[in-house]
Subunit: 407 residues, 2 copies
């Protein structure tokens, strides 16, 4: 008997999360002997609970599905809903009733750690009630912090965006004949520094900007930082420093927290100051040079500006492979990337038990963090470079990239 597919997206958006959605839908549409309809949960599991689903397979008859593929953000919308730990909670039978009402045989969830936790719980509950619905997780996160996979879809494009923008900021900093200046670039990443590490790809030659790069994996010492900046200014008068938003003192305190207890906005509220802003003030105070901080905004996670062809293709393939393994009988799995070789780059697709993936985080290996935690090694460059390759041409209308959106 033919079954239906349901697919959802969860967590923060990425530039290629819709590539994975496209992969699931396009492969599902081909499997007409086993699959009937392909539904999308609008705003993830929360939307499913609220009965908010759409017939995403029907988009194939328009050009919209093609457009979804290169649209940044989450086409289906996202949620941050965490299922209860207790599998006896009444939400589980409620969810399964909804899935059975729609004759769902295959459930795909595209997301990061928390989404894999959802897949884990649903697949365990299914096993407990002898349901034959298959649950497969498709990884995505710009943070690149999922275990048991070489990397995650979304990271390559975000890494390429960060490297390009840091190179642009460096070009901008060199425009004026400043005696000395410091630009601090704050990059996303609370606990893992993968994205900040990618800023090294902006370096055009040994000693070029960004000269200093700080990740949350290594304790940040403010005095050492000031000494490093002073030293770097002697050979790089317009200095670029890249930091993760999550740099911390190694004792559980984020650097930004050093500031936020004292700054107050015009209405008397405490202001959340970023680590970049705090270090800007620190450099001004301790060194007295011209200094500015730039917080890369949400575009770093969902910009179409510097899509990596490799990343988009892999995101799509992860979606395709998810449908294939579900049809072949697997459940409770996440799609994984297995790197066979970096140069030339060779990748295989696999699966791993979703239960051992969720709720764990993969930091940047400390042996890749060098010069007292202020720089990144060449091993990282060999790792990251293949993921940023290739150009994706975007459909445009009136000169501006065209995005799909739910009506």
């Amino acid at each position: 008997m033919k079954k239906n597919v349901i697919v959802g997206q969860s967590g923060g958006p990425t530039a290629v999360i819709n590539g994975s959605l496209y992969g699931v839908v396009s492969e599902g549409l081909k499997r007409t002997e086993q699959i009937d309809h392909i539904y999308g949960m609008v705003n993830g599991i929360e939307g499913l609970l609220a009965g908010h689903i759409m017939d995403i397979g029907a988009l194939d008859s328009t050009n919209e599905l093609e457009l979804v593929r290169t649209t940044p953000g989450s086409y289906l919308g996202s949620c941050r809903y965490k299922l209860p730990e207790n599998l006896e909670d009444p939400v589980y039978p409620e969810l399964f009733r909804k899935l059975e009402d729609k004759n769902i045989g295959y459930f795909f969830y595209i997301g990061g750690n928390d989404s894999m936790d959802t897949v884990s719980k649903l697949s365990r509950y299914a096993a407990g009630i002898d349901s034959d619905i298959r649950f497969i997780g498709v990884p995505k996160t710009i943070d690149n912090d999922l275990v048991h996979t070489d990397h995650t879809p979304g990271y390559g494009s975000a890494a390429k965006y960060v490297a390009t923008v840091v190179r642009e900021i460096a070009a901008d900093a060199n425009v004026y004949d400043n005696k000395q200046s410091v630009t601090i670039v704050e990059i996303m990443g609370r606990h893992a520094g993968w994205l900040t590490a990618a800023s090294i790809l902006a370096r055009k030659f040994e000693g070029d900007n960004p000269v200093l790069i700080y990740l949350p994996e290594v304790a940040f010492n403010q005095d050492t930082f000031i000494e490093k900046v002073k030293d770097a200014l002697t050979h790089t008068p317009n200095l670029i420093v890249c930091i993760s938003e999550g740099i911390n003192d190694g004792n559980g305190t984020f650097i930004c927290e050093y500031a936020s207890d004292v700054s107050v906005d015009s209405f008397g509220h405490k202001m959340l100051t970023g680590s970049g802003k705090y270090l800007e003030n620190l450099v001004k105070e301790k060194i007295g040079v011209k200094v500015r901080s730039i917080e890369l905004n949400v575009c770093q996670r969902c910009s179409c500006a510097h899509l990596s062809r490799v990343d988009l293709d892999e995101a799509e393939n992860a979606g395709i492979y998810a449908v294939q393994v579900a049809l072949s009988g697997e459940t409770g799995k996440m799609i994984t990337f297995i790197r066979n070789k970096s140069i030339p780059y060779e990748l295989s697709y696999g699966t791993a038990d979703v239960n051992i993936i969720c709720n764990e985080e993969k930091p940047v290996p400390t042996e890749w963090i060098i010069r007292d935690g202020s720089d990144i090694s060449n091993d990282f460059i060999d790792y990251a470079r293949p993921l940023t390759q290739g150009y994706v041409e975007l459909p445009t209308k009136n000169g501006i990239p065209l995005f799909a959106y739910r009506r």
Copy 2:
């Protein structure tokens, strides 16, 4: 007798200012009967005074000159040096001695208002001493605020960048199923709102985000703003508001100044809060919805991410035309763009007396600012759209756009 060319760049960088540099150099290299060497001032007129010049024509024998064309920022470096008003100042004979030492016949300066002021003074001084050196200004500014030209090179690419990024931010805002949220995007432009107005190009359909757009040309009323936001939230739950950094109360006070007198950083310094941050706090205080502000960073002026083909070509053509008019005997002029038609787009190149251009600013026409100063008319769209058209393929190395830089 053959003469030499000198070319410089001044003011803030743009994405295509090096396109104009490429135009001057490539056209100069072709005119071998009249032109011998082509020099570049490093860091503008200040570099010329310091004897800091380079043989930029020599780049043609490498690939570097081709790379300059699509490199954002100012390849030659910039300055913000203002020549003295008094033409009797000893800096003038000093400058002309340096020009004569290098046998300069043609002087090109690529920049905005202040740079045109430099061209004006030098050409007037030249007339006073019967020098036959010809001085031509090549316009550039993302602000688009020069008079006597339909638009300026640099504006089209910056407008395309702003429109694309605002569309991405809108996609990001719609990811979560928020009951209501407000995102305030702060865009460059102290006195003229051209760049902020371009955010309307992000709108996919009538009523789509950004719903509210505020320029410095119209007085900003905080109470009316809050009412407009409340009203807009009733039909657009995830609201995007775009503002110029220079929005003001109409009585000479920037909106950001309402905040900066009270917020203090962790070292006790007064903090410069942007208008976006101030309005974020205002919305939080008065409406109490989820709100964030995003200040578009320096990339809006010098990103290669969304180069407009039309803009880059026109920038290059402005450089080419500058060489042609200088050789034909003109001096004390700025290259101007004359729009013959918007649909289909037709452009001619001309010149205008630089003395009537410098130190004047062109605001967005108030008849293009509608709905009590909170929206932009279709006339603006017809004006701006042709300037953002076409795609430029960037040279890359290891997956990251490749930029030229002075060794």
